[in-house]
Protein backbone atom coordinates (compact mmCIF):
# COMPACT_ATOMS: atom_id res chain seq x y z
CA UNK A 1 0.00 0.00 0.00
CA UNK A 2 2.76 2.42 1.00
CA UNK A 3 4.44 1.73 -2.28
CA UNK A 4 1.34 2.84 -4.19
CA UNK A 5 0.99 5.94 -2.02
CA UNK A 6 4.62 6.74 -2.70
CA UNK A 7 4.03 6.26 -6.42
CA UNK A 8 1.00 8.56 -6.34
CA UNK A 9 2.98 11.11 -4.35
CA UNK A 10 5.83 10.88 -6.83
CA UNK A 11 3.49 11.56 -9.73
CA UNK A 12 2.03 14.50 -7.82
CA UNK A 13 5.41 16.07 -7.28
CA UNK A 14 6.73 15.55 -10.80
CA UNK A 15 6.92 19.30 -11.17
CA UNK A 16 9.66 19.47 -8.53
CA UNK A 17 13.14 19.24 -10.10
CA UNK A 18 14.49 15.73 -10.04
CA UNK A 19 16.15 14.60 -6.85
CA UNK A 20 17.97 11.28 -7.09
CA UNK A 21 15.27 8.61 -6.98
CA UNK A 22 14.90 6.61 -3.76
CA UNK A 23 16.58 3.22 -4.09
CA UNK A 24 16.83 0.07 -2.02
CA UNK A 25 20.00 -2.01 -1.85
CA UNK A 26 19.60 -5.39 -0.14
CA UNK A 27 22.81 -7.02 1.13
CA UNK A 28 23.15 -10.57 2.44
CA UNK A 29 26.13 -12.64 3.60
CA UNK A 30 26.41 -16.32 4.48
CA UNK A 31 27.91 -15.54 7.90
CA UNK A 32 29.06 -12.57 9.94
CA UNK A 33 32.81 -12.21 10.42
CA UNK A 34 35.19 -9.24 10.32
CA UNK A 35 36.14 -9.49 6.63
CA UNK A 36 32.62 -10.02 5.26
CA UNK A 37 31.23 -7.33 7.58
CA UNK A 38 33.93 -4.98 6.28
CA UNK A 39 32.80 -5.73 2.71
CA UNK A 40 29.23 -4.82 3.67
CA UNK A 41 30.34 -1.56 5.30
CA UNK A 42 32.43 -0.79 2.23
CA UNK A 43 29.38 -1.18 0.00
CA UNK A 44 27.37 1.17 2.20
CA UNK A 45 30.10 3.82 2.40
CA UNK A 46 30.92 3.52 -1.29
CA UNK A 47 27.27 4.13 -2.15
CA UNK A 48 27.31 7.21 0.09
CA UNK A 49 30.28 8.53 -1.92
CA UNK A 50 28.28 7.93 -5.10
CA UNK A 51 25.43 10.04 -3.75
CA UNK A 52 23.22 7.31 -2.27
CA UNK A 53 23.00 7.98 1.44
CA UNK A 54 21.25 5.90 4.08
CA UNK A 55 18.36 7.87 5.55
CA UNK A 56 18.16 10.21 2.56
CA UNK A 57 17.61 8.40 -0.72
CA UNK A 58 18.94 4.92 0.10
CA UNK A 59 17.31 2.09 2.02
CA UNK A 60 20.08 -0.32 3.00
CA UNK A 61 18.93 -3.80 4.05
CA UNK A 62 21.19 -6.48 5.52
CA UNK A 63 20.62 -10.11 6.51
CA UNK A 64 23.09 -12.80 7.58
CA UNK A 65 22.33 -16.50 7.04
CA UNK A 66 24.29 -17.34 10.23
CA UNK A 67 26.26 -19.96 8.36
CA UNK A 68 23.21 -21.91 7.17
CA UNK A 69 22.69 -22.30 3.40
CA UNK A 70 18.96 -23.08 3.85
CA UNK A 71 18.55 -19.74 5.59
CA UNK A 72 20.54 -18.13 2.77
CA UNK A 73 17.95 -19.53 0.36
CA UNK A 74 15.15 -18.06 2.44
CA UNK A 75 16.83 -14.65 2.60
CA UNK A 76 17.12 -14.77 -1.19
CA UNK A 77 13.35 -15.38 -1.49
CA UNK A 78 12.61 -12.59 0.98
CA UNK A 79 14.69 -10.11 -0.99
CA UNK A 80 13.20 -11.15 -4.32
CA UNK A 81 9.76 -10.67 -2.77
CA UNK A 82 10.70 -7.27 -1.37
CA UNK A 83 11.80 -6.22 -4.83
CA UNK A 84 14.80 -4.00 -3.99
CA UNK A 85 16.57 -2.02 -6.72
CA UNK A 86 19.73 -4.12 -6.42
CA UNK A 87 20.63 -7.24 -4.40
CA UNK A 88 24.24 -7.58 -3.20
CA UNK A 89 25.05 -11.14 -2.02
CA UNK A 90 28.38 -11.61 -0.25
CA UNK A 91 30.10 -15.07 -0.61
CA UNK A 92 29.45 -17.98 -2.96
CA UNK A 93 26.42 -19.79 -1.40
CA UNK A 94 24.56 -16.53 -0.77
CA UNK A 95 25.21 -15.43 -4.35
CA UNK A 96 24.04 -18.77 -5.79
CA UNK A 97 20.84 -18.68 -3.75
CA UNK A 98 20.04 -15.14 -4.94
CA UNK A 99 20.91 -15.81 -8.58
CA UNK A 100 18.74 -18.95 -8.55
CA UNK A 101 15.83 -16.99 -7.08
CA UNK A 102 15.60 -14.13 -9.59
CA UNK A 103 16.17 -13.54 -13.27
CA UNK A 104 14.91 -9.93 -13.16
CA UNK A 105 16.28 -8.04 -10.17
CA UNK A 106 19.86 -6.79 -10.74
CA UNK A 107 22.40 -8.76 -8.68
CA UNK A 108 25.89 -7.48 -7.87
CA UNK A 109 27.75 -10.23 -6.00
CA UNK A 110 30.96 -9.70 -4.06
CA UNK A 111 33.64 -11.74 -2.29
CA UNK A 112 33.09 -14.68 -4.66
CA UNK A 113 36.38 -16.30 -5.69
CA UNK A 114 35.25 -18.17 -8.81
CA UNK A 115 32.02 -16.66 -10.21
CA UNK A 116 32.17 -18.66 -13.45
CA UNK A 117 32.70 -21.97 -11.64
CA UNK A 118 29.82 -21.07 -9.33
CA UNK A 119 27.64 -20.52 -12.45
CA UNK A 120 26.78 -16.98 -11.38
CA UNK A 121 27.90 -15.69 -14.77
CA UNK A 122 28.73 -17.54 -17.97
CA UNK A 123 31.52 -15.20 -18.99
CA UNK A 124 33.32 -12.82 -16.63
CA UNK A 125 34.06 -10.30 -19.37
CA UNK A 126 30.48 -10.23 -20.71
CA UNK A 127 28.12 -11.55 -18.01
CA UNK A 128 24.78 -10.98 -19.78
CA UNK A 129 21.54 -11.36 -17.85
CA UNK A 130 20.96 -9.64 -14.53
CA UNK A 131 24.19 -10.55 -12.71
CA UNK A 132 27.66 -9.07 -12.32
CA UNK A 133 30.00 -8.39 -9.40
CA UNK A 134 33.45 -8.48 -7.87
CA UNK A 135 35.65 -11.57 -7.57
CA UNK A 136 38.01 -11.74 -4.60
CA UNK A 137 40.59 -14.09 -6.07
CA UNK A 138 43.75 -13.21 -4.16
CA UNK A 139 46.83 -11.90 -6.03
CA UNK A 140 48.68 -15.10 -5.13
CA UNK A 141 51.82 -14.29 -7.11
CA UNK A 142 52.19 -11.12 -5.05
CA UNK A 143 51.68 -13.10 -1.87
CA UNK A 144 54.41 -15.56 -2.77
CA UNK A 145 56.76 -12.70 -3.72
CA UNK A 146 56.19 -11.14 -0.30
CA UNK A 147 56.90 -14.43 1.46
CA UNK A 148 60.13 -14.73 -0.56
CA UNK A 149 61.18 -11.19 0.33
CA UNK A 150 60.65 -11.50 4.08
CA UNK A 151 61.64 -15.16 4.55
CA UNK A 152 63.98 -15.96 1.64
CA UNK A 153 65.05 -19.34 3.06
CA UNK A 154 61.53 -20.79 3.20
CA UNK A 155 60.95 -23.80 0.96
CA UNK A 156 57.68 -25.28 2.21
CA UNK A 157 54.46 -23.37 2.76
CA UNK A 158 51.79 -24.75 5.07
CA UNK A 159 48.25 -23.76 4.16
CA UNK A 160 45.36 -23.99 6.61
CA UNK A 161 41.95 -24.04 4.97
CA UNK A 162 38.47 -25.51 5.15
CA UNK A 163 38.02 -28.09 2.35
CA UNK A 164 34.29 -27.41 2.64
CA UNK A 165 34.62 -23.82 1.41
CA UNK A 166 34.39 -23.39 -2.34
CA UNK A 167 36.35 -20.14 -2.25
CA UNK A 168 39.29 -21.72 -0.43
CA UNK A 169 39.50 -24.81 -2.60
CA UNK A 170 39.76 -22.60 -5.68
CA UNK A 171 42.50 -20.60 -3.95
CA UNK A 172 44.51 -23.66 -2.99
CA UNK A 173 44.35 -25.00 -6.55
CA UNK A 174 45.65 -21.69 -7.89
CA UNK A 175 48.27 -21.45 -5.14
CA UNK A 176 49.70 -24.81 -6.17
CA UNK A 177 49.89 -23.62 -9.78
CA UNK A 178 51.98 -20.63 -8.72
CA UNK A 179 54.00 -22.36 -6.00
CA UNK A 180 55.73 -24.96 -8.17
CA UNK A 181 57.42 -22.51 -10.57
CA UNK A 182 58.29 -20.24 -7.61
CA UNK A 183 60.17 -23.13 -5.98
CA UNK A 184 57.76 -23.82 -3.14
CA UNK A 185 56.19 -26.99 -1.87
CA UNK A 186 52.67 -26.67 -0.48
CA UNK A 187 51.57 -28.68 2.57
CA UNK A 188 47.83 -28.69 3.28
CA UNK A 189 46.16 -28.76 6.67
CA UNK A 190 42.40 -28.87 6.77
CA UNK A 191 40.11 -27.44 9.44
CA UNK A 192 36.43 -28.04 8.83
CA UNK A 193 35.33 -25.82 11.70
CA UNK A 194 36.81 -23.03 13.77
CA UNK A 195 37.45 -25.40 16.67
CA UNK A 196 39.79 -27.46 14.44
CA UNK A 197 42.04 -24.57 13.41
CA UNK A 198 44.50 -24.91 16.26
CA UNK A 199 44.93 -28.63 15.67
CA UNK A 200 45.42 -28.03 11.95
CA UNK A 201 48.11 -25.44 12.68
CA UNK A 202 49.85 -27.87 15.06
CA UNK A 203 49.90 -30.55 12.37
CA UNK A 204 52.11 -28.24 10.30
CA UNK A 205 54.74 -27.78 13.00
CA UNK A 206 58.03 -29.31 11.93
CA UNK A 207 56.83 -29.82 8.37
CA UNK A 208 56.78 -26.29 7.03
CA UNK A 209 58.93 -23.15 7.01
CA UNK A 210 56.03 -20.68 6.86
CA UNK A 211 52.25 -20.81 7.27
CA UNK A 212 49.92 -19.08 4.85
CA UNK A 213 46.29 -18.42 5.80
CA UNK A 214 44.20 -17.76 2.68
CA UNK A 215 40.94 -15.80 2.66
CA UNK A 216 39.07 -18.72 4.23
CA UNK A 217 35.99 -17.87 6.29
CA UNK A 218 36.56 -20.65 8.81
CA UNK A 219 40.27 -20.14 9.41
CA UNK A 220 40.12 -16.34 9.39
CA UNK A 221 37.35 -16.52 12.00
CA UNK A 222 39.75 -18.42 14.30
CA UNK A 223 42.97 -16.76 13.16
CA UNK A 224 44.18 -16.18 16.72
CA UNK A 225 44.34 -19.94 17.29
CA UNK A 226 46.73 -20.36 14.34
CA UNK A 227 48.75 -17.29 15.37
CA UNK A 228 49.26 -18.78 18.82
CA UNK A 229 50.67 -22.01 17.40
CA UNK A 230 52.88 -20.06 14.99
CA UNK A 231 54.29 -17.90 17.81
CA UNK A 232 54.93 -20.86 20.11
CA UNK A 233 56.88 -22.68 17.42
CA UNK A 234 58.57 -19.76 15.70
CA UNK A 235 56.88 -20.28 12.34
CA UNK A 236 56.18 -17.08 10.38
CA UNK A 237 52.47 -16.79 9.57
CA UNK A 238 51.28 -14.82 6.54
CA UNK A 239 47.72 -13.90 5.66
CA UNK A 240 45.82 -13.51 2.40
CA UNK A 241 43.97 -10.38 3.48
CA UNK A 242 45.32 -7.28 5.14
CA UNK A 243 42.61 -7.26 7.85
CA UNK A 244 44.34 -10.25 9.43
CA UNK A 245 47.67 -8.50 10.01
CA UNK A 246 46.64 -6.48 13.08
CA UNK A 247 45.28 -9.78 14.46
CA UNK A 248 48.76 -11.32 14.50
CA UNK A 249 49.89 -12.25 10.97
CA UNK A 250 53.34 -10.98 9.97
CA UNK A 251 52.36 -9.31 6.74
CA UNK A 252 49.93 -9.32 3.86
CA UNK A 253 49.75 -7.61 0.53
CA UNK A 254 46.62 -7.08 -1.47
CA UNK A 255 43.11 -5.97 -0.77
CA UNK A 256 41.14 -5.61 2.35
CA UNK A 257 37.46 -6.42 2.32
CA UNK A 258 36.41 -2.86 3.05
CA UNK A 259 38.04 -1.84 -0.24
CA UNK A 260 36.29 -4.72 -2.02
CA UNK A 261 33.05 -3.30 -0.66
CA UNK A 262 33.92 0.14 -2.02
CA UNK A 263 34.76 -1.39 -5.39
CA UNK A 264 31.47 -3.30 -5.38
CA UNK A 265 29.65 -0.06 -4.64
CA UNK A 266 30.97 1.48 -7.87
CA UNK A 267 29.24 -1.29 -9.82
CA UNK A 268 26.08 -0.99 -7.72
CA UNK A 269 26.03 2.77 -8.39
CA UNK A 270 26.30 2.13 -12.14
CA UNK A 271 23.35 -0.26 -11.98
CA UNK A 272 21.36 2.23 -9.89
CA UNK A 273 21.97 4.81 -12.59
CA UNK A 274 20.37 2.47 -15.11
CA UNK A 275 23.19 0.42 -16.60
CA UNK A 276 22.36 -3.24 -17.21
CA UNK A 277 24.41 -5.57 -14.98
CA UNK A 278 24.85 -7.94 -17.91
CA UNK A 279 26.93 -5.35 -19.76
CA UNK A 280 29.28 -4.65 -16.83
CA UNK A 281 32.27 -7.03 -16.74
CA UNK A 282 33.02 -8.88 -13.51
CA UNK A 283 35.79 -6.99 -11.70
CA UNK A 284 38.79 -8.50 -9.93
CA UNK A 285 39.30 -7.22 -6.40
CA UNK A 286 41.94 -4.51 -6.50
CA UNK A 287 44.38 -3.35 -3.90
CA UNK A 288 48.10 -3.45 -3.41
CA UNK A 289 48.14 -2.38 0.20
CA UNK A 290 51.11 -3.73 2.09
CA UNK A 291 50.48 -4.14 5.80
CA UNK A 292 53.23 -5.41 8.11
CA UNK A 293 53.33 -6.28 11.80
CA UNK A 294 56.96 -6.17 13.07
CA UNK A 295 55.83 -7.09 16.60
CA UNK A 296 54.19 -10.29 15.39
CA UNK A 297 57.24 -11.04 13.22
CA UNK A 298 59.52 -10.77 16.25
CA UNK A 299 57.39 -13.27 18.17
CA UNK A 300 57.72 -15.69 15.25
CA UNK A 301 61.48 -15.18 15.08
CA UNK A 302 61.61 -13.11 11.91
CA UNK A 303 62.86 -9.63 11.21
CA UNK A 304 61.02 -7.82 8.48
CA UNK A 305 63.57 -6.19 6.13
CA UNK A 306 63.80 -2.41 6.42
CA UNK A 307 62.93 -2.01 2.74
CA UNK A 308 59.62 -3.81 3.23
CA UNK A 309 58.71 -1.73 6.28
CA UNK A 310 59.51 1.46 4.36
CA UNK A 311 57.32 0.39 1.47
CA UNK A 312 54.41 -0.63 3.70
CA UNK A 313 51.20 1.38 3.60
CA UNK A 314 50.50 0.48 7.20
CA UNK A 315 52.86 -0.67 9.94
CA UNK A 316 51.02 -2.28 12.85
CA UNK A 317 52.68 -1.27 16.11
Amino acid sequence: MLKYLAAVAAVGFLAIPAKAEDVTVAVTAIVEHPALDAARDGVRDGLADAGYKVGENLTFLYESAQGNPATAAQIARKYVGDGPTVIVPISTPSAQAVVAATKDIPVVFTAVTDPVGAELVKDAAMPGGNVTGVSDLSPLADHLALIKEITPDAKTIGVIFNPGEANSVTLIEKLKEFAGPAGYEVVEASATKTADVQQAARSLVGKVDVIYVPTDNTVVSALEAAVKVAEENGIPLYAGDTDSVPRGAIAAVGFNYYDIGLQTATIVAKVLKGESPGSIPVMQAEGTNLVVNPGAAKKMGVTIPEAVIKRANTVVQ
Binding site: E32, L61, Y62, E63, S64, Q66, G67, N68, P69, A70, T71, A73, Q74, I75, A76, R77, K78, V80, G81, D82, G83, T92, P93, Q96, A97, V99, A100, A101, G117, A118, E119, L120, K122, P163, G164, E165, A166, S168, V169, T170, T192
Partner: protein
Protein backbone atom coordinates in the same frame (compact mmCIF):
# COMPACT_ATOMS: atom_id res chain seq x y z
CA UNK B 1 5.98 -10.59 4.34
CA UNK B 2 5.68 -10.55 0.57
CA UNK B 3 3.94 -13.26 -1.43
CA UNK B 4 7.23 -14.44 -2.95
CA UNK B 5 8.90 -14.59 0.46
CA UNK B 6 5.96 -16.53 1.93
CA UNK B 7 5.88 -19.01 -0.95
CA UNK B 8 9.67 -19.33 -0.67
CA UNK B 9 9.29 -20.27 3.00
CA UNK B 10 6.55 -22.77 2.14
CA UNK B 11 8.72 -24.27 -0.59
CA UNK B 12 11.77 -24.73 1.64
CA UNK B 13 9.49 -26.01 4.39
CA UNK B 14 8.08 -28.60 1.98
CA UNK B 15 11.59 -29.67 0.97
CA UNK B 16 12.44 -30.13 4.65
CA UNK B 17 9.16 -32.01 5.15
CA UNK B 18 10.97 -35.04 3.68
CA UNK B 19 13.60 -34.57 6.39
CA UNK B 20 10.85 -34.31 9.02
CA UNK B 21 9.22 -37.53 7.81
CA UNK B 22 12.63 -39.24 7.84
CA UNK B 23 13.35 -38.00 11.35
CA UNK B 24 9.86 -39.11 12.41
CA UNK B 25 10.55 -42.61 11.10
CA UNK B 26 13.88 -42.87 12.93
CA UNK B 27 13.10 -41.09 16.20
CA UNK B 28 9.43 -41.89 16.67
CA UNK B 29 8.64 -45.08 14.78
CA UNK B 30 11.94 -46.88 15.35
CA UNK B 31 12.94 -45.02 18.53
CA UNK B 32 16.41 -44.68 16.99
CA UNK B 33 17.98 -41.26 17.67
CA UNK B 34 19.67 -40.75 14.31
CA UNK B 35 22.02 -37.88 13.52
CA UNK B 36 23.04 -39.37 10.15
CA UNK B 37 20.69 -36.87 8.49
CA UNK B 38 23.23 -34.04 8.82
CA UNK B 39 25.33 -36.05 6.40
CA UNK B 40 22.69 -37.73 4.25
CA UNK B 41 21.06 -34.40 3.34
CA UNK B 42 24.18 -32.98 1.63
CA UNK B 43 24.91 -36.52 0.35
CA UNK B 44 21.65 -36.49 -1.58
CA UNK B 45 22.43 -32.99 -2.84
CA UNK B 46 25.93 -34.04 -3.90
CA UNK B 47 24.87 -37.19 -5.72
CA UNK B 48 22.04 -35.46 -7.58
CA UNK B 49 24.19 -32.44 -8.45
CA UNK B 50 27.08 -34.48 -9.81
CA UNK B 51 24.76 -36.65 -11.89
CA UNK B 52 22.83 -33.68 -13.24
CA UNK B 53 25.99 -31.76 -14.20
CA UNK B 54 27.25 -34.82 -16.07
CA UNK B 55 24.09 -34.81 -18.15
CA UNK B 56 22.03 -37.51 -16.46
CA UNK B 57 18.27 -37.08 -16.15
CA UNK B 58 17.42 -35.18 -12.93
CA UNK B 59 14.75 -37.73 -11.89
CA UNK B 60 17.42 -40.44 -12.09
CA UNK B 61 19.58 -38.13 -10.00
CA UNK B 62 16.84 -37.94 -7.37
CA UNK B 63 16.51 -41.71 -7.35
CA UNK B 64 20.27 -42.09 -6.91
CA UNK B 65 20.13 -39.54 -4.07
CA UNK B 66 17.48 -41.65 -2.33
CA UNK B 67 19.62 -44.77 -2.74
CA UNK B 68 22.75 -42.99 -1.49
CA UNK B 69 20.86 -41.71 1.56
CA UNK B 70 19.51 -45.21 2.16
CA UNK B 71 23.04 -46.65 2.10
CA UNK B 72 24.12 -44.02 4.66
CA UNK B 73 21.22 -45.11 6.88
CA UNK B 74 22.23 -48.75 6.43
CA UNK B 75 25.80 -47.99 7.50
CA UNK B 76 24.53 -46.41 10.72
CA UNK B 77 22.18 -49.34 11.33
CA UNK B 78 25.03 -51.77 10.59
CA UNK B 79 27.40 -50.11 13.09
CA UNK B 80 24.64 -50.22 15.66
CA UNK B 81 23.18 -53.68 15.03
CA UNK B 82 26.28 -55.65 14.04
CA UNK B 83 28.82 -54.11 16.40
CA UNK B 84 26.58 -52.79 19.15
CA UNK B 85 27.83 -49.22 18.87
CA UNK B 86 25.40 -46.88 20.65
CA UNK B 87 22.88 -45.57 18.09
CA UNK B 88 23.75 -41.91 18.71
CA UNK B 89 27.47 -42.54 18.30
CA UNK B 90 26.97 -44.80 15.27
CA UNK B 91 25.00 -42.04 13.54
CA UNK B 92 27.57 -39.40 14.49
CA UNK B 93 30.32 -41.55 12.97
CA UNK B 94 28.41 -41.90 9.71
CA UNK B 95 27.61 -38.20 9.73
CA UNK B 96 31.22 -37.02 10.07
CA UNK B 97 32.44 -39.60 7.57
CA UNK B 98 29.89 -38.32 5.07
CA UNK B 99 31.45 -34.83 5.14
CA UNK B 100 34.60 -36.25 3.54
CA UNK B 101 32.63 -38.58 1.28
CA UNK B 102 30.49 -35.71 0.03
CA UNK B 103 33.64 -33.74 -0.81
CA UNK B 104 34.93 -36.79 -2.71
CA UNK B 105 31.69 -37.19 -4.62
CA UNK B 106 31.59 -33.57 -5.71
CA UNK B 107 35.36 -33.18 -6.05
CA UNK B 108 34.96 -29.73 -4.53
CA UNK B 109 32.80 -28.18 -1.83
CA UNK B 110 30.22 -26.59 -4.08
CA UNK B 111 28.59 -27.69 -7.33
CA UNK B 112 26.45 -25.13 -9.11
CA UNK B 113 23.16 -26.13 -10.77
CA UNK B 114 21.89 -22.69 -11.70
CA UNK B 115 22.06 -23.30 -15.44
CA UNK B 116 21.26 -27.01 -15.36
CA UNK B 117 18.14 -28.98 -16.21
CA UNK B 118 16.37 -29.94 -12.99
CA UNK B 119 13.20 -31.84 -12.18
CA UNK B 120 11.52 -28.43 -12.12
CA UNK B 121 12.66 -27.27 -15.55
CA UNK B 122 9.71 -28.84 -17.48
CA UNK B 123 7.25 -27.06 -15.18
CA UNK B 124 8.71 -23.59 -15.69
CA UNK B 125 7.28 -21.67 -18.58
CA UNK B 126 3.77 -23.10 -18.27
CA UNK B 127 2.59 -19.56 -17.64
CA UNK B 128 2.74 -19.89 -13.86
CA UNK B 129 5.40 -17.80 -12.06
CA UNK B 130 8.44 -19.80 -10.91
CA UNK B 131 7.76 -19.02 -7.28
CA UNK B 132 4.43 -20.86 -7.54
CA UNK B 133 5.79 -23.74 -9.62
CA UNK B 134 8.47 -24.77 -7.10
CA UNK B 135 6.24 -25.16 -4.02
CA UNK B 136 3.46 -26.77 -6.12
CA UNK B 137 5.71 -29.45 -7.61
CA UNK B 138 7.31 -30.21 -4.26
CA UNK B 139 3.91 -30.27 -2.57
CA UNK B 140 2.77 -32.95 -5.00
CA UNK B 141 5.94 -34.95 -4.29
CA UNK B 142 5.42 -34.59 -0.53
CA UNK B 143 1.83 -35.83 -0.82
CA UNK B 144 2.91 -38.86 -2.86
CA UNK B 145 5.72 -39.74 -0.45
CA UNK B 146 3.60 -39.19 2.67
CA UNK B 147 0.87 -41.40 1.16
CA UNK B 148 3.38 -44.16 0.38
CA UNK B 149 4.95 -43.96 3.85
CA UNK B 150 1.48 -44.11 5.46
CA UNK B 151 0.60 -47.15 3.35
CA UNK B 152 3.92 -48.76 4.23
CA UNK B 153 3.45 -48.23 7.96
CA UNK B 154 -0.05 -49.72 7.74
CA UNK B 155 1.25 -52.88 6.05
CA UNK B 156 2.17 -56.01 8.02
CA UNK B 157 5.85 -55.16 7.62
CA UNK B 158 5.25 -51.57 8.71
CA UNK B 159 3.23 -52.64 11.73
CA UNK B 160 6.05 -54.96 12.77
CA UNK B 161 8.46 -52.03 12.37
CA UNK B 162 6.29 -49.91 14.65
CA UNK B 163 6.20 -52.72 17.16
CA UNK B 164 10.00 -52.89 16.99
CA UNK B 165 10.18 -49.23 17.95
CA UNK B 166 7.62 -49.45 20.74
CA UNK B 167 8.93 -52.58 22.42
CA UNK B 168 11.66 -54.52 20.68
CA UNK B 169 11.63 -57.35 23.23
CA UNK B 170 7.92 -57.91 22.86
CA UNK B 171 8.20 -57.67 19.07
CA UNK B 172 10.92 -60.33 19.05
CA UNK B 173 8.73 -62.52 21.25
CA UNK B 174 6.04 -62.24 18.60
CA UNK B 175 8.47 -63.46 15.96
CA UNK B 176 9.37 -60.05 14.49
CA UNK B 177 12.93 -59.93 13.17
CA UNK B 178 13.67 -56.52 14.73
CA UNK B 179 17.11 -56.20 13.14
CA UNK B 180 15.68 -56.32 9.63
CA UNK B 181 13.13 -53.67 10.54
CA UNK B 182 15.78 -51.35 11.91
CA UNK B 183 17.83 -51.72 8.71
CA UNK B 184 14.84 -51.06 6.47
CA UNK B 185 13.57 -48.20 8.63
CA UNK B 186 16.94 -46.44 8.74
CA UNK B 187 17.41 -46.87 4.99
CA UNK B 188 13.95 -45.46 4.34
CA UNK B 189 14.44 -42.53 6.74
CA UNK B 190 17.78 -41.49 5.29
CA UNK B 191 16.63 -42.16 1.73
CA UNK B 192 13.93 -39.53 2.28
CA UNK B 193 16.51 -37.13 3.70
CA UNK B 194 18.70 -37.75 0.64
CA UNK B 195 15.72 -36.88 -1.57
CA UNK B 196 15.28 -33.65 0.39
CA UNK B 197 18.92 -32.79 -0.25
CA UNK B 198 18.54 -33.50 -3.97
CA UNK B 199 15.47 -31.28 -4.18
CA UNK B 200 17.10 -28.51 -2.15
CA UNK B 201 20.05 -28.44 -4.54
CA UNK B 202 17.76 -28.29 -7.56
CA UNK B 203 15.42 -25.59 -6.25
CA UNK B 204 18.26 -23.39 -4.97
CA UNK B 205 20.83 -23.81 -7.68
CA UNK B 206 23.68 -25.38 -5.72
CA UNK B 207 24.88 -28.34 -3.72
CA UNK B 208 27.24 -27.30 -0.93
CA UNK B 209 28.85 -29.57 1.68
CA UNK B 210 27.84 -27.12 4.40
CA UNK B 211 24.09 -27.48 3.70
CA UNK B 212 23.87 -30.37 6.16
CA UNK B 213 24.65 -28.33 9.25
CA UNK B 214 21.70 -28.37 11.64
CA UNK B 215 19.47 -30.58 9.47
CA UNK B 216 18.62 -32.76 12.45
CA UNK B 217 17.63 -29.73 14.50
CA UNK B 218 15.28 -28.51 11.77
CA UNK B 219 13.83 -32.00 11.29
CA UNK B 220 13.23 -32.56 14.99
CA UNK B 221 11.74 -29.09 15.44
CA UNK B 222 9.32 -29.81 12.58
CA UNK B 223 8.30 -33.18 14.05
CA UNK B 224 7.71 -31.71 17.50
CA UNK B 225 5.84 -28.64 16.25
CA UNK B 226 3.61 -30.97 14.25
CA UNK B 227 3.04 -33.23 17.25
CA UNK B 228 2.19 -30.32 19.50
CA UNK B 229 -0.29 -28.86 17.04
CA UNK B 230 -1.99 -32.08 15.98
CA UNK B 231 -1.53 -34.38 19.00
CA UNK B 232 -1.65 -37.15 16.41
CA UNK B 233 -3.30 -40.45 17.27
CA UNK B 234 -2.86 -41.88 13.79
CA UNK B 235 0.13 -42.23 11.48
CA UNK B 236 -1.57 -40.15 8.79
CA UNK B 237 -2.07 -37.25 11.20
CA UNK B 238 1.51 -37.58 12.43
CA UNK B 239 2.81 -37.37 8.84
CA UNK B 240 0.62 -34.35 8.12
CA UNK B 241 2.02 -32.89 11.34
CA UNK B 242 5.57 -33.37 10.02
CA UNK B 243 4.75 -31.48 6.83
CA UNK B 244 2.86 -28.67 8.56
CA UNK B 245 5.49 -28.42 11.32
CA UNK B 246 8.25 -28.10 8.76
CA UNK B 247 6.43 -25.33 6.90
CA UNK B 248 5.65 -23.50 10.17
CA UNK B 249 9.31 -23.62 11.13
CA UNK B 250 10.29 -21.97 7.85
CA UNK B 251 7.54 -19.37 8.11
CA UNK B 252 8.86 -18.55 11.60
CA UNK B 253 12.31 -17.93 10.10
CA UNK B 254 10.72 -15.76 7.43
CA UNK B 255 9.01 -13.70 10.15
CA UNK B 256 12.29 -13.49 12.05
CA UNK B 257 13.97 -12.19 8.88
CA UNK B 258 11.46 -9.35 8.83
CA UNK B 259 12.05 -8.56 12.49
CA UNK B 260 14.63 -5.86 11.78
CA UNK B 261 11.64 -3.57 11.28
CA UNK B 262 11.16 -3.64 15.06
CA UNK B 263 14.78 -2.84 15.85
CA UNK B 264 16.28 -6.35 15.89
CA UNK B 265 19.58 -7.00 14.16
CA UNK B 266 20.45 -9.59 11.52
CA UNK B 267 22.44 -11.50 14.12
CA UNK B 268 19.29 -11.96 16.25
CA UNK B 269 17.79 -14.27 13.61
CA UNK B 270 18.36 -17.58 15.38
CA UNK B 271 17.08 -16.22 18.69
CA UNK B 272 13.93 -14.83 17.11
CA UNK B 273 13.33 -18.11 15.28
CA UNK B 274 13.70 -20.04 18.53
CA UNK B 275 11.27 -17.71 20.32
CA UNK B 276 8.69 -17.97 17.53
CA UNK B 277 8.85 -21.77 17.50
CA UNK B 278 8.64 -21.81 21.30
CA UNK B 279 5.52 -19.64 21.10
CA UNK B 280 4.02 -22.00 18.52
CA UNK B 281 4.64 -24.86 20.97
CA UNK B 282 3.36 -23.07 24.08
CA UNK B 283 0.19 -21.45 22.71
CA UNK B 284 -1.85 -24.62 22.12
CA UNK B 285 -0.81 -25.84 25.56
CA UNK B 286 -2.13 -22.67 27.22
CA UNK B 287 -5.38 -23.06 25.33
CA UNK B 288 -5.61 -26.68 26.45
CA UNK B 289 -5.07 -25.72 30.08
CA UNK B 290 -7.89 -23.17 29.95
CA UNK B 291 -10.25 -25.78 28.55
CA UNK B 292 -9.52 -28.24 31.35
CA UNK B 293 -9.91 -25.75 34.22
Amino acid sequence: MSEIAFLGAVEIGLVYAFVAIGVFLAFRVLDFPDLTVDGSFPLGAAVAAVMITSGIDPWTGCLAAILAGAVAGLVTAFLNQRFGILHLLASILTMIALFSINLRIMGRPNVALINQQTVLTPFYGLGIPDYYVRPLVIFVLVIIVAFLVARFLASDFGLAMRATGVNAKMARAQGVRTGVHIYVGMALANGLVGLAGALFAQTNGFADVTTGIGTIVVGLAAVIVGETLFRPRTIVLALIGCVVGSVIYRVAIQFALGADAIGLKASDLNLVTAVLVAVALILPRLRGRKATT
